[in-house]
């Protein structure tokens, strides 16, 4: 399978990465090189094979459903590019 320019633009938008028109051909070439490389997986017989979900044979531990953390709003917003008090600031989302 390979991707065309329209698909490249669609993927970029899904990935939320702005891509300029002159970047598209280059990206298309690179993505197609990667897709051509992974194409060889189609020759593997995976009939009846379970997809891997956990690489380590272990039961995942469950935690008690209790609050173990909190009261650190200052820490949470400490690295934010724009805040007001304990709120993150973004451009207007709802008209």
């Amino acid at each position: 399978m390979s991707v065309d320019a329209t698909t490249v633009r669609r993927i970029a938008h899904l990935a939320r990465i702005a891509v300029s028109e002159d970047e598209v051909p280059h990206l298309q070439g690179e993505l197609n090189a990667m897709l051509a490389f992974v194409e060889q997986l189609s020759e593997v017989n995976v009939e009846g094979v379970e997809p891997m979900t956990s690489v380590t044979p272990m039961q995942m531990k469950k935690r008690q459903d209790v609050v173990t953390d909190g009261g650190i709003a200052d820490d949470i917003v400490a690295n934010a590019p724009a805040t007001e008090g304990h709120f993150f600031q973004v451009p207007k989302v709802v008209e």
């Binding site: 990935a15 993505l31 490389f37 992974v38 997809p51 891997m52 690489v55 531990k61 590019p81």
Partner: protein, 491 residues
């Protein structure tokens, strides 16, 4: 007094215990070495004040007699580990000036045991790369150069800063992470020892995530024993990472020098590649001979799905990365580029903040997870992964204790030499290491010799799940036979 930077970690520990020198002296010696080696670009942040204050604290603890196992040992930390109050960037512009308000579990355990932070080490952006050329801080120089050449070579990646700093004697050891070979390949390129432990052995909490089902932390060190000492402190169960395993951490150092007599070592025929340099082939047989002389039995084994590991990896890893990296949105931390609305803000921030390799992988990951393609790509890759793991399990069931392979298909190459036209050229660096991540197994790279141009080459040993001890025992045999290698200082 001998040059304090030339000691192994084990020797430094003895010197500190015997009060031959102080941690402050040891730390200062390394801080001076770092300053003199800035041309290597191994450190992206030096923390001399913090280092000296931690060293003084360690000296006090040693004097009081309550020193931890790494008391006073100066280390470098890959910039993928969150360090409280110390800028952590994953070497990406998108994290900008991110200063964590928390400490990663692995590093907190190193500080608990008395280690000293020298600074943060360069790496490929978000650990995506095999040459440390994708870092937003620029490439790292390998302290090794070809005989008679002044050309700067890459140290490998993604833990290139860690490998370069350890090889150039700038720190006594370093933390690193390995998703497809990022500990073992740079270790092989710099004649250092690197171990990727079993998936689940080290907590991933507080480490910038790349591909969560593959990422594991481990040390890069000057000797097999040093690596064992560091891993003991780094490993262990952490309730904050549900994939970390709740089993005791053995005393890995006790495995050093243990007899390997009677161990069965597999030589996988699928790792014998067409066009593999004769020197690597030769080194591989030498490694087998050393283990045989130590009493191990060598057997040929088959891992039939080996060739599919790298393509499967380039579906699984980008898919997980596209999901993990969704958090970099210019809202909660890091870089922000303005936009007319929130979507444009996201798109502009990510376009400006991510480098080319990261964009490529996030986009491939987005594509293989998108509606209509999930089954053909992601699901199939996860099935192939099951088959890769089964190959190893079949070997281990037949009584194989460990598998011996080359660590890399070549020695270090020049900056700008690979991957310019076709990204896959660079990806092939990880052909021998990536299978291990796909199967969640432990793997160690140990220096074993040099190529005709004087560049180091390494061998890899792959072990059963949670049997790092066998790798340390076998690694020690190789180190004893091959010796240790140091680059000639030019920086």
């Amino acid at each position: 007094m001998t040059d304090l930077t030339s000691l192994t970690l084990a020797a430094a520990r003895k010197g500190l215990a015997d009060k031959t020198f102080t941690s402050l002296e040891l730390t200062d010696a390394h801080l001076s070495a770092i300053e003199a080696a800035r041309v290597l670009n191994a450190f992206v942040m030096e923390t001399p004040d913090q280092a000296r204050s931690m060293a003084r604290e360690a000296d006090a603890r040693i004097a009081r007699g309550d020193a931890g196992p790494l008391a006073g040992i100066p280390l470098g930390i890959k910039d993928l580990f969150a360090t409280k109050g110390v800028r952590t960037t994953a070497c990406s512009k998108i994290l900008d000036n991110f200063v964590p308000t928390y400490e990663s579990t692995v590093t907190s355990q190193l500080w608990r045991d008395g280690a000293v932070l020298l600074g943060k080490l360069n790496n490929d952006e978000f650990a995506m790369g095999s040459s440390n050329e994708t870092s937003c801080f620029g490439p790292v120089g390998n302290p090794w150069r070809r005989d008679g050449s002044n050309a700067t070579l890459v140290p490998g990646g993604s833990s290139g800063g860690s490998a370069s700093a350890v090889a150039a004697l700038l720190c006594m050891g370093a933390t690193a992470t390995d998703t497809g070979g990022s500990i073992r390949q740079p270790a092989a390129f710099t004649a250092t020892v690197g171990i990727k432990p079993t998936y689940g052995r080290c907590s991933r909490w507080g480490i910038v995530a790349f591909a969560s089902s593959l990422d594991q932390a481990g040390p890069i060190a000057r000797s097999v024993r040093d690596a064992a000492m560091l891993l003991r402190s780094m490993a262990g169960h952490d309730p904050k990472d549900t994939t970390s395993v709740d089993i005791p951490v053995p005393d890995y150092e006790a495995a050093i020098g243990k007899s390997v007599k009677g161990m069965k070592i597999g030589i996988p025929r699928e790792y014998r590649l067409d066009g593999m340099p004769a020197e690597i082939e030769k080194l591989w047989s030498a490694g087998a001979d050393w283990l045989r002389s130590a009493g191990a039995e060598l057997v040929e084994v088959s891992l039939p799905h080996t060739k599919y590991a790298l393509p499967a990896y380039y579906i699984v890893a980008p898919a997980e990365a596209s999901s993990n990296l969704a958090r970099y949105d210019g809202v909660r931390y890091g870089l922000r580029e303005q936009g007319r609305n929130i979507i444009e803000l996201y798109e502009n921030t990510r376009a400006e903040g991510f480098g080319a390799e990261v964009k490529r992988r996030v986009m491939i990951g987005t594509y293989v997870l998108s509606a209509g393609y999930y089954d053909a790509y992601y699901l199939r890759a996860q099935k192939v992964r099951t088959l890769i793991k089964k190959d190893f399990e079949d070997c281990f069931t037949k009584g194989v204790d460990a598998i011996l392979t080359p660590a890399t298909p070549s020695a270090a190459f020049g900056i700008g030499e690979k991957g310019g036209a076709d990204p896959v050229e660079m990806y092939l660096n990880d052909i021998f290491t990536v299978t291990v991540n796909m199967a969640g197994l432990p793997g160690i790279a140990v220096p074993a010799g040099k190529d005709a141009q004087g560049l180091p080459l390494g061998l890899q040993l792959i072990g059963r799940p949670f049997d790092e001890e066998t790798l340390f025992s076998l690694g020690e045999v190789i180190e004893q036979a091959a010796g240790r290698f140091r680059p000639a200082r030019w920086w």
